[in-house]
């Protein structure tokens, strides 16, 4: 198979390195002479972290040099999917499970070597996280950052102004609070939304935000019946409740509207009072509106007595199955994902490490709003995105239909129509699973 990127000179060096490593069979340390590791990331803001960690690594591992490449996420995914199967990919890359599952399925990422496997299970990462990186009993990659733990941002100043004592603990409380927080001007236009839901646009993000509500209500997008057997998990009361929530939010209670600004920018600038989002918003607020008085609480429970749910989405760093420097690469990846690397990640970018052994106190002293993300309350129940090839399409196609439904007037106050719509969407989900031969 064709070699890595790089000039001819380096290929000779790599061959020497390979020979050297082979001679030292049994030891995995990167004592091999002059190894060049290429690293690609889909997070441009994280490249400085990679570079800083690599610089530290190079101090104790002379002869290992690094080449970095970063670009925006979709483009990085496109590039990886073109390069890795053709043998022109990097040694190390980070990518979400939507892509990694395809690589794993096609043997482009290999199972972790035994020592890395043991390292993953050494207790540093929680059981949920370890399970997320396990497929058919084998582990792939190491967790690098926590991509979700989405929680509820709430604007303290607005809450005080509306006479509310604190963040809502259940969805009925949330609805009542939102009704008091929304601001409509004299011409009937919403100038501040009570809560910023993801109502429009494209892509699986809409599905992911829908799941915050769906999971809270007790449903899930797809359910597993057995190995390789999945079907929809929302053709039930939970699904109808979740869709009903959105429809009512926009059309009945008027606590959100597609026409107002949304998301982190809206929360940071005060155009909304509540938002369900991940920890990176804290960084946005710090740079765009540091004086904002806000708090972060867990996403409320659907009603009293039901658990509060939280999405976990650890992102992994993987070694290319076709890399010529696997041993050296794994050694670096292990270094990258250690506690110091994790701290650096959060310091520089606001993204959190999924490790359980990091001392977050200095961070919390500076920015207490991180608390819910780094130390969620113990009664919270977690859920993850199912790791299978068809999931991205399931979520995206659902998203295509959801946005139209949210503003569909025929669904307002019409439980039968909502049930029919949910059933329709569920059938599409099942069809996608059947096409992918994953139905059961």
């Amino acid at each position: 198979m064709s070699a890595l990127t790089g000039v001819g000179k380096l290929r000779r060096r790599d061959a020497l390195a390979l020979a050297g490593a082979a001679a030292l069979a049994g030891t995995r340390s990167a004592r091999a002479a002059d190894t060049k590791l290429t690293i690609w990331t889909g997070y441009p803001e994280i490249q400085p972290v990679y570079q800083a960690v690599a610089a530290e690594y190079a101090k104790t591992h002379p002869g290992v040099t690094f080449d970095f490449f970063s670009t925006s996420l979709r483009e990085a995914e496109q590039k990886l999917t073109a390069a890795v199967p053709t043998g022109t990919g990097p040694d190390i890359f980070d990518i979400g499970t939507n892509i990694s599952i395809n690589f794993i399925d096609n043997q482009l990422i290999e199972p972790n070597p035994p020592d890395i496997d043991a390292h993953l299970k050494s207790g540093v990462w929680g059981k949920f996280t370890v399970d997320f990186f396990t497929l058919d009993g084998k582990t792939y990659g190491l967790p690098f950052l926590e991509g979700s733990r989405a929680s509820m941002y709430w604007n303290k100043a607005y809450f005080q102004e509306a006479g509310l004592s604190g963040p809502p603990a259940t969805f009925p409380e949330l609805i009542e609070a939102a009704k008091k927080l929304v601001k409509i001007d004299s011409q009937g236009r919403m100038t501040r939304s009570g809560i910023s839901l993801r109502l429009s646009g494209q892509g699986s993000g809409i599905g992911e935000k829908f799941r915050y509500i769906l999971e809270a209500a007790g449903g899930s997008l797809i359910e597993q019946k057995g190995p390789g057997k999945w079907h929809n998990g929302y053709d039930n009361q939970a699904g109808r409740d979740a869709l009903g929530f959105y429809v009512d939010a926009v059309q009945t209670w008027h606590i959100d509207d597609p026409k107002v600004p949304h998301d982190a920018d809206a929360f940071a600038s005060g155009a909304t009072a509540m938002l369900f989002r991940e920890s990176w918003v804290i960084g946005e607020i710090q740079s765009k509106n540091p004086k904002l008085d806000y708090g972060v609480a867990p996403i409320p429970a659907w009603k009293a007595g039901m658990p509060r749910m939280m999405l976990l989405q650890p992102e992994g760093v993987y070694v290319n199955g076709q890399s010529q420097n696997k041993a050296a690469a794994w050694d670096f990846v292990k270094f990258l994902t250690n506690a110091r690397g994790g701290m650096k990640l959060t310091e520089v970018t606001g993204w959190l490490s999924p490790r359980t052994d990091i001392d977050w106190k200095p961070l919390l002293a500076k920015t207490p709003q991180f608390e819910v993300f780094v130390a969620p309350p113990s009664d919270i129940k977690y859920y993850v995105e199912p790791v299978l090839t068809a999931f991205d399409e399931v979520e995206s196609r659902l998203a295509d239909r959801l946005t139209a439904s949210y503003i569909d007037p025929s669904l307002k106050g019409n439980p039968d129509a909502i049930a029919a719509r949910i059933h329709d969407m569920a059938q599409q989900t099942d069809k996608i699973l059947k096409d992918a031969k994953l139905y059961g």
Binding site: S2, T5, T38, G42, Y43, P44, E45, Q47, D67, F68, F69, S70, T71, S72, L73, E75, Q78, K79, A82, A83, T86, G87, T88, P90, P261, A264, D265, A266, A268, S269, G270, A271, E278, W280, E284, S287, K288, N289
Partner: protein
């Protein structure tokens, strides 16, 4: 009012109306660009403000200086220029040759070949860039300048434009006259067709330059090393996972438009102004 005075008034009013409409249109054309340049001078706090305002209240150069600190943008700029110039040169030459031959000469297969050339412009690039990528892997051209420039060497619309222009603006009589005088086809091509196609060539030039400058997905796929990036690819450094550094994005984009503007201004006369047509009898 005399008739003459009335006519003068009417023509003055018409002139004012025309200028009014044109100016309104010009405002409409300029507005997004004004926003882009204005944003490039804003700090992050000013960009996300609500309600938004157009002009920065505390203008700053920070985005521009930060641009060059964040990544080697001078190099990216240089790459963009290099790739665009190479592509433009090639497109101009190939379009001129192919366009003129398609326009003025009849030979078997002419229609089919021309349609084939045009049809390749219809297929979306996303549909065939992977097979092209795989082929370049085979010849070890990944991560090289030649790989980036390769697909931009020809421009179907350029060939089409020259063909239309030559077909309509250059009478057959001129070519016949040269042939009757004993000139070879190559001489006729060089001395008659090419000089008279000045504005089409200039138009192809500016359009090829713009297309090559804006190339994004192909250079991104093919370049593994930052040293080969052009401006468009380099700017993705400011598009983070869920947000973007709009200030720097706009600063980079503003800088990006400058060369194209310069090329257009240089070529504008050539594209639009008439040339002296010698040898044409009225």
């Amino acid at each position: 009012m005399t008739n003459a005075q009335r006519r003068l008034l009417r023509s003055r009013i018409t002139s004012v109306l025309i200028h009014g409409v044109l100016s309104l249109g010009a405002l409409f054309m300029l507005l997004p660009m004004v926003w882009m340049v204005a944003t490039s001078f804003k700090l992050p706090g000013e960009i996300a403000v609500w309600p938004p305002h157009l002009l920065p209240q505390q203008p700053t150069w920070a985005n521009y200086s930060g641009l060059f600190e964040a990544a080697p943008f001078l190099r990216f700029f240089g790459n963009s220029v290099f790739i665009a110039v190479a592509s433009t040169a090639s497109c101009v030459v190939t379009s001129m040759i192919a366009g003129a031959v398609f326009a003025k000469y009849r030979f078997p297969g002419r229609g089919v070949l021309f349609m084939l050339v045009l049809a390749t412009a219809i297929v979306p690039f996303e549909a065939y860039m992977i097979p092209l990528y795989i082929e370049l892997v085979r010849i070890h051209w990944i991560n090289t300048y030649q790989a980036i420039i390769l697909p931009t060497l020809v421009m179907s619309f350029g060939i089409f434009l020259v063909r239309q222009h030559v077909a309509s603006a250059i009478p057959d009589e001129l070519m016949e006259a040269a042939r009757v005088d004993g000139a070879s086809e190559s001489w006729t091509f060089r001395r008659v067709l090419v000089p008279l196609s000045g504005n089409a060539i200039a138009a192809v030039g500016i359009f090829a330059f713009i297309q090559a400058w804006a190339a994004f997905i192909w250079p991104l796929l093919v370049a593994n090393n930052q040293l080969l990036f052009n401006m468009e690819v380099g700017l993705t450094a400011f598009q983070f996972r869920f947000s973007a550094d709009y200030g720097k994005l706009m600063a980079g984009s503003t800088l990006s438009t400058v060369p194209m503007l310069i090329v257009f201004l240089l070529l504008r006369r050539r594209i639009i102004e008439n040339m002296a047509l010698t040898g044409i009898k009225g």
